[in-house]
């Protein structure tokens, strides 16, 4: 299993689209820092937006908000929507399925590789955001959403926890991308379909009349990290994100697995 996973990662590393998404995730916080350095004002209406020039720690939190709408879903979809479909299209799926590995193992390795990529782009955004913004505005204490001050190092820990919980709904999007990639066997359809699905989840969250289901929508889980930034920490949205996202991850992955296991691998 380790070897199959290693090669899934190596295949990603050998493809340009991987770097396109990773580069975009690293470029966005840099653009934020550069723009806010040369222009007055800022994103005052969003969580931690007012303190963006107080400490380099605030920038990744602000970027998380903006990128959750479509940028991170698109970056994730670029890989998860392609990872099975591209192999179907290129005929390499039959090459790897006629070796000594069962289909379940191949599928599991692809899932792990897609999740690894998703986690990596979020972490890369966080690291670049903290470093670039700290160079400009300093690595200072952070004002929490409750108005209390937390030390810079404590704030860094909160950022790490926030990125980790943020990765969960992203994994839900990656899982849906993998499902579409397996079912449609077409990269473009899977990437676009995944992005549309992520946008639909966001849209449902703002439509009137959806208040009762809102806590269980995938888009809502992108705000779960707010719980870490409260004093004391509010675990309710964090715990809810864990089990709600487990559903959004589990169902498409299980469906994709069943399709992958039984599908005919013929000329596309």
């Amino acid at each position: 299993m380790t070897r199959v996973y290693k090669w899934e990662v190596l295949k990603l590393l050998a493809q340009k689209r991987t770097y396109l998404g990773l580069g975009a995730a690293m470029l966005v916080p840099l653009i934020f820092v550069v723009v806010l350095t040369f222009r007055s004002g800022g994103p005052n209406d969003i969580p931690l937006g007012r303190s963006i020039r107080d400490t380099g720690l605030a920038t990744p939190f602000v970027v998380l908000f903006f990128m959750s709408i479509w940028a991170f879903p698109l970056i994730t979809a670029l890989v998860s929507g392609d990872i099975v479909a591209a192999e179907s299209h290129n005929g390499t799926l039959k090459t790897i399925l006629t070796r000594s590995r069962d289909r379940g193992e191949i599928y599991a390795a692809k899932v792990l590789a897609a999740f690894t990529y998703t986690a990596l782009v979020i972490a890369a955004m966080g690291v670049v955001g903290v470093v670039a913004a700290s160079i400009e505005w300093g690595f200072n204490d952070l004002t929490s959403l409750s108005g209390t001050t937390v030390s810079a190092w404590h704030g860094l820990g909160l950022l790490a926890a926030s990125l980790a919980i943020y990765a969960w709904p992203m994994a839900g999007i990656a899982a849906f991308g993998l499902f579409l990639s397996t079912v449609t066997r077409n990269s473009a359809s899977a990437v676009v379909g995944t992005l549309l699905w992520a946008l639909l989840m966001q849209l449902l969250g703002v439509l009137p009349g959806t208040e009762s289901i809102r806590p269980y929508l995938l888009g809502e889980q992108f705000q779960a990290w707010h719980g870490f930034l409260r004093t004391p920490a509010d675990w309710t949205p964090v715990v809810r994100a864990l089990w709600v996202c487990a559903f959004y991850v589990g169902v498409p992955l299980a469906a994709g697995y069943l399709v992958f296991l039984r599908r005919d691998v013929a000329g596309e």
Partner: protein, 308 residues
């Protein structure tokens, strides 16, 4: 206790394989038996069901009915274990174009549990690709990819090779090299199933053949017996081939092929004598009437076009 050696399962045993796509029956109750040491030719026109059969043998697609076993194991039931000792490719080998030839082979080796670098060099030498192994496969010619496909298959040290049209798209030199390679592999004791359009190649390489037409096997057996069965072949050059054909048909000679104004058919000597008299009475001039040994191509065309 019995001293009899255990019966080893056959490299390929397919029973009643059926594959339907909606109303279309791509493969219709195909039975195949490939024995140890065979170089088995699998022949058929385009769309006859060859590649679909091979996909079922390798477990890439699920049969609608029937079962295939490789060395006694069913790929659908036993998964990847059924492919132990089996290698090959269907519809041409496919590789990752953005990886080098060597890295593609390393990937395949790792999927088989890992192979030493020296073994990769060995198979690259066999297919004469070692000097291009560092180049990306995206820049390989068709022939180089075909050879890399063979290298990927050999990496598994197979006892059974399934090759789908391995010489397709190769230039004459490449085709000759591929034939020589298959001969060497067969001489090493590897059982080979060779799906091919190139009948001269099959005639040169194979000891047994199966011919498939519209999803059904219409002949399976030894190639030499098939050729011998066509021993009563005759060649006729007549002034009016179409009328001559009608006269032959009237004498119960069917399956007449017209090749460049020459008629080729099979019949016993007495029937041919009677037909020659009839041709003369019908005013049809005969410039040549001679016994003719059929080639595999003639037999194949006769069998696959006869009832098409």
């Amino acid at each position: 206790m019995s001293d009899a050696p255990p019966i080893e399962p056959m490299p390929i045993e397919a029973c009643g394989l059926v594959k339907r796509y909606g109303d279309i029956v791509a493969v219709d109750h195909v039975d195949l038996s490939v024995e140890r040491g065979d170089v088995f030719g699998y022949l058929g026109p385009n769309g006859a069901g060859k590649t679909t059969s091979l996909r079922m043998l390798l477990g890439l697609i699920r049969p609608t009915a029937g079962a295939a076993r490789l060395f006694g194991r069913d790929p659908i039931v036993d998964g990847a274990r059924a492919l132990d000792g089996v290698a090959g490719f269907v519809e041409g080998p496919r590789f990752y174009p953005y990886l080098s030839g060597r890295r593609n082979l390393r990937l395949l080796g790792d999927l088989d549990g890992g192979v030493p670098a020296a073994r990769i060099d060995e198979v690259l030498d066999v297919v004469e690709l070692r000097d291009r192994a560092k180049d990306r496969v995206g820049g390989y010619s068709h022939g180089m990819r075909q050879r890399l496909g063979i290298a990927g298959a050999l990496l598994r040290d197979p006892r059974l090779l399934l090759l789908d049209e391995p010489a397709t798209g190769l230039d004459p030199g490449g085709m000759r090299d591929m034939r020589e390679l298959i001969k060497r592999l067969a001489a090493d004791g590897i059982t080979i199933l060779l799906s091919s359009h190139i009948l001269a190649e099959v005639e040169e390489l194979c000891n047994r053949v199966a011919i498939i037409r519209t999803g059904r096997i219409i002949y399976e057996g030894r190639l030499d017996e098939l050729l011998q069965s066509a021993g009563g072949g005759y060649l006729l050059r007549a002034s009016d081939p179409e009328r001559a054909r009608a006269v032959l048909l009237a004498h119960g000679i069917d399956g007449v092929q017209v090749v460049e104004r020459e008629l080729r058919f099979q019949a016993d000597a007495a029937t041919v004598e009677a037909a020659s008299v009839a041709l003369g009475k019908a005013g049809i001039g005969i410039s040549l009437l001679a016994p003719h040994t059929a080639t595999l191509e003639e037999l194949f065309l006769g069998m696959t076009e006869q009832a098409a």
